[in-house]
Assembly symmetry: C2
Homo-oligomer: 210 residues x 2
């Protein structure tokens, strides 16, 4: 479990090599990310950075030391959220039948995107600027979705002639709908509809294999 290389380990020229932060620095950093996530969710991507620092209980200087620009902070928050969304896939897979897990995850995905409406503009700018971020995130999402789909296909509860990118496109159609009041309800219905389409013609009737 001890993954620190304090003295005995050799330096790894790892791409993601980050020397361990000092304990207080790590604490503050975590507090900042948490506060930023809340602030961005509440006020959109141009929430006040000073307010974020205040909520995190640190000085504005500390915020800027950790995140030199607003974009850095937005990126970290965004990565963290996508990561947690994808982690939820594993969690759902453990506690539900594959098709139910898939449906619930798709619903979460759409809901998550919905919360990002306000950030749409700046997030798109960020994703255009930072192509690494874009490919990392879409790769991560596709992977999570693929695993859910494969499990459901293996289980025979959905048809086998679909793949993750097809479904991702279909979900795109759902969340790009204009935002009315009943957006949430409709998206729920549409995800459910998509799910029925996926179940149609599935092998489940011939259930037998383990």
């Amino acid at each position: 479990m001890a993954s620190q290389p304090p003295a005995t380990a050799k330096d790894k020229p790892d791409a993601t090599a980050a020397k361990p932060l000092r304990a207080d620095a790590q604490r503050n950093r975590d507090a900042l990310v948490k506060a930023a996530a809340a602030a961005f969710a509440m006020h959109g991507a141009d929430a006040s950075l000073e307010e974020i620092a205040r909520q995190a209980g640190v000085g504005i200087g500390t915020l800027y030391r950790h995140f030199p620009t607003r974009e850095h902070l937005v990126e970290v928050v965004y990565r963290r959220e996508v990561e947690s969304l994808c982690a939820a896939a594993d969690e759902l897979a453990l506690h539900h039948p594959p098709d139910v897990a898939l449906e619930q995850w798709m619903q979460r995905f759409v809901d998550y995107i919905a919360t990002k409406r306000g950030l749409a503009t700046s997030l798109r700018t960020l994703l255009n600027t930072n192509s690494t971020l874009f490919s990392d995130m879409s790769g991560r999402v596709t992977l999570a979705l693929r695993q859910l789909i494969e499990a459901a296909v293996a289980d025979g509860s959905i048809r086998s002639d679909v793949d993750a990118s097809d479904v991702l496109h279909a979900l795109g159609g759902i969340y790009s709908a204009p935002d009315t009041d009943d957006w949430r309800d409709r998206s729920r219905r549409l995800v459910s509809l998509l799910m029925d389409g996926l179940r149609f013609g599935a092998a489940k009737s011939a259930k037998g294999g383990g």
Copy 2:
């Protein structure tokens, strides 16, 4: 020369209908645009708006009344510059042989773009956001270029199998070159080279018509 419709003229429901400004307002507006053009040229698109107001000799409130956002101001300055660039085409056509006019105008065009390097990012954002602006401006430029080309073709000094959009693409290749110190010299050479290509196979050798 009197183009004001003070009392006798009827109201035109023109799309660009703008009620005439009060004299002082028009004066201030002009001063602001002029100051802004200078400031953007000097400091890029995020020049200080307060400084612009100061240079124009007006209060910051006046600036914001005329141009509610920075983008409004950038747009007006940009439109004015493109307009003046295109007007230069007519001017050149009056005082030079068609091929010389064409070459000189292309040179001005490339020089102009060069001054916009600093604004590239924000200008691109603006053009993406505001598609009307984009089509207006590129239409205006294409028209000016087409007239120069047609005159030179008619005169027999350049070949006839090119059109404005071809040449615009070629110019694009020139100004998108990486910016080194000798950028200006090289672009001059390249424009000259392009011009030679346009002259090649022209009818001018068979000069005879008046």
